[in-house]
């Protein structure tokens, strides 16, 4: 490994403690917030936090909350989120958050305390094998055994977390290493011979891709979270418009292409729109951008193969290509770089897709669209969850940051909020972690203090990290919690209704707290809304209360289901549609 000759900072000849090195390194990285929770193994680090004011430490109420908050911050900004937890239980509590970030490729640096090096392996108090426990759910992890390696390791962690396909990186630091002294020099570049993520796509492949795209009769553009993570939304939009193709976003890709655009056919997948899933199944050329053909998106791969199509796949991670679906033109590289090249080439070339052919295809798509697959009963006496989200969209002008938990409410938020910009929709798509929404919203709110941040949740999910209402109070986070309270683990109930003969095993939420009182007990504003006519007024009032966290408990129709739905193991065009249709 070669360090750059010109370090970032001047060598201070004086030796400082490992704990101070940690803090100074975070300063060098320009870290704004550290989400954490103290404990024995990190007390030296906390003592140094006490002495500084360059970044703000946010004290959560449970380490899972720290990780999700750092994750929300990262999703909203594109910069690595930073979390700090103690050894043993601090780490095990953090694992859910680390795995959540890993599944969605979110850049994070997680600093964990460890027992002193001489005690490692002795079953010491609060010892756990952090590197071993986190290994399968991190992009990389380090155990720093020598204070001399500390600054370089932290630099490496930030580089690895934020480049290539991003992901969480854990830096495990034994307590004696935080005590030991060393001079501080923060390296700018760190050469890692074993880590060289691809950037530029192969020119020949890009040319081939373009050739395939302009020949397409029934083209489709399928955009995933990689386009959001790779900040390629502008390029995606330009390309789709230039080509005149229909475009769909995955759950993770929402906002990468504007939902309000006429070329947008909706989200695809298990709860995707009829038109998106039909177009996906029936297209002849598919351009996949930063997406990974996962099981919730294409359903049964055998069924997907039945109608042949040629596939161009752009992704920064070669292992995402041809993993579940064989592709014809793989392009490995940074999506933004590749799309920029593709656009330049398209500018030079005269060839364009045949407009007459495209017209026929659009006619077909419009027929599918005419089914109006997201239709729901607007005349109901009960509050329909879809209506709450549509109204939220209306009064926030579609410009709020929206986090969610996991379940029906998550799918309705994805279907009905209509995201026009990237990094506005923040949810745990890969791991599907209930409890994500509220702490993630904290990270988003800190990153964008003046923005409206809504956490769309369910009465089951919100209870998994509800303790963070206290953190929200301490740091004045005016989040709008939109609780779609159907007294059920709705998504579980839906599966039990469809596939288990209405046997609602343990999916009924009994003994629910009075959420209004609960919010008030934490020092927030609580509202209960029971009638459709009150929905808009309540949301308006909540948004107007700019300084306050408002917990809106919407008592919704318990029987509502998410449609369309592709049952597990089925093909994506084999959807169950709403009875409303």
């Amino acid at each position: 490994m070669k360090l750059s000759d010109a370090p970032h900072t001047q060598n201070t000849a004086a030796e400082i403690s490992g704990a101070e090195i940690v803090i100074r390194s975070l300063h060098e990285e320009g870290v704004e917030f550290v989400f954490g929770y103290p404990g024995g193994a990190v007390l030296n680090i906390y003592d140094e936090i006490f002495k500084q004011d360059k970044f703000k430490h946010v004290l959560v109420r449970h380490e899972q909350g720290a990780l999700h908050a750092a994750d929300g911050y990262a999703r909203a900004t594109g910069r690595a989120g930073v979390a700090l937890v103690t050894s043993g239980p601090g780490v095990t509590n953090a694992v859910t958050g680390i795995a959540t970030a890993y599944m969605d490729s979110i850049p994070m640096v997680v600093i964990t305390g460890q027992v002193p090096t001489h005690a490692i392996g002795q079953d010491a108090f609060q010892e756990c094998d952090t590197v071993g426990i986190t290994r399968p759910c991190v992009k990389h992890n380090f155990l720093v055994k020598d204070v001399a390696d500390l600054a370089t390791t932290i630099r490496k962690a930030f580089i690895v977390a934020q480049t290539g396909r991003p992901g969480p990186v854990v830096v495990d630091i034994p307590k004696d290493v935080t005590q030991a002294k060393h001079v501080f020099a923060y390296p700018k570049d760190v050469e890692m011979r074993s880590y060289r993520p691809a950037v530029k796509g192969h020119a020949g492949q890009i040319k081939k891709a373009l050739g395939m795209l302009v020949e397409a009769k029934r083209p489709m553009v399928y955009v995933g979270g990689g386009a959001v993570l790779g900040n390629a939304s502008a390029q995606v939009t330009e390309l789709v418009r230039m080509l005149g193709f229909p475009c769909t976003n995955t759950l993770m890709g929402l906002g990468a292409y504007p939902s309000s655009d006429k070329q947008f056919v909706g989200m695809l997948g298990m709860h995707g729109t009829y038109e998106a899933n039909m177009a996906m199944q029936n297209c002849d050329v598919l351009l996949a951008i930063g997406a990974r053909f996962d099981d919730r998106v294409i359903g049964n791969p055998e069924h997907f193969y039945q109608s042949g199509r040629r596939i161009v796949h752009i992704d920064v991670d070669p292992s995402s290509i041809s993993k579940r679906v064989k592709v014809d033109v793989p392009i490995v590289g940074d999506v933004k770089e590749v799309l920029t090249e593709l656009l330049a080439l398209l500018g030079e070339e005269k060839a364009r897709p045949d407009p007459a052919g495209l017209k026929v295809w659009w006619k077909q798509i419009d027929e599918w669209r005419a089914k109006d697959c997201l239709k729901y009963n607007r005349k109901s006496e009960l509050i329909k969850p879809q209506y709450v989200i549509e109204t939220l969209h209306k009064i926030t002008g579609g410009d709020a940051f929206v986090t969610s938990d996991v379940g029906q409410h998550q799918m309705w938020a994805a279907q009905f909020y209509g995201f026009d910009k990237p990094r506005r929709w923040i949810n745990s798509g890969g791991l599907g972690t209930m409890g994500f929404g509220l702490p993630a919203a904290m990270g988003v709110q800190l990153a964008h203090p003046d923005a409206t941040v809504a956490c769309i949740t369910g009465e089951a999910s919100i209870q998994m990290c509800i303790q963070e209402l206290s953190t929200c109070k301490q740091y004045h986070m005016p989040i709008k919690v939109v609780n779609l309270n159907n007294r059920y683990m709705g998504m579980v109930r839906q599966w039990q209704e469809f596939f288990y003969g209405n046997r609602y095993a343990e999916s009924y939420m009994d003994a629910l707290p009075d959420f209004v009182k609960l919010a008030e007990a934490y020092g927030h504003v609580g509202m209960r809304i029971e009638k459709p006519a009150d929905v808009e007024g309540a949301l308006r009032e909540a948004v107007k209360l700019k300084e306050r966290l408002v917990f809106l408990d919407f008592i919704t129709d318990q029987t509502e289901n998410v449609f369309p739905m592709v049952p597990g193991g089925k093909g994506i065009s084999e959807m169950i549609l709403s009875e409303e249709l």
């Binding site: 590197v131 071993g132 290994r135 399968p136 992009k139 990389h140 992890n141 155990l143 690895v160 890692m192 011979r193 074993s194 880590y195 991670d317 070669p318 292992s319 041809s322 993993k323 064989k326």
Partner: protein
């Protein structure tokens, strides 16, 4: 199909568990795995024998490449290559079997490296196939104990695996 993957990886404490963990987490087969430092002590060379369809082996190579400690991965099956494995085997060698074991060992160019009244310990190198063939020739019931290293391999000719 059987593939031999050759890896260069950082000679760091966690590197081996990252590789083996990847195989168990993703359900890939490992037939054998050997690892030792190279002439450059900061780097280890690992040989993994795995089985799977071409698609699976391609995924394995990609996933291995993604590990931050892995410097390089080559599927030796993509070119001509050499493969050797070392086996130590203790076989029954009493009475009339003694001569027969000796003769078989000679045929396979194996060496007898330890002798008791009732047993021989035989050392044999070769491809994994050859070692299997030796065990078959001796007769599995005659075998008391074996220790095998797993295969290691290099490309043929002047080609070398560079960083």
């Amino acid at each position: 199909m059987r593939h031999i993957l050759s890896l260069l990886l950082e000679n760091e404490s966690g590197a081996l568990s990252r590789v083996s963990g990847l195989f168990s987490a993703r359900g890939y087969n490992i037939e054998s795995l050997t690892v030792a430092p190279t002439e450059d002590p900061t780097m280890s060379r690992m040989t993994i024998v795995t089985t799977g369809s071409d698609d699976v082996v391609e995924q394995i190579t990609k996933q291995l490449n993604k590990l931050v400690d892995v410097v390089k991965v080559v599927d030796l099956n993509e070119g001509k290559h050499l493969e050797r494995e070392l086996m130590l085997v203790k076989v029954r060698a009493a009475g009339k079997d003694r001569e027969e074991v000796k003769r078989t060992a000679d045929i396979f160019r194996a060496r007898i490296i330890d002798v008791t009244e009732k047993s021989y310990t035989v050392e044999l190198t070769g491809t994994s196939d050859k070692l299997d063939a030796f065990l078959d020739a001796i007769g599995r019931t005659m075998v008391l104990e074996t220790a095998r290293t797993g295969a290691c391999g290099l490309g043929r000719g002047e080609w070398i695996m560079k960083v």
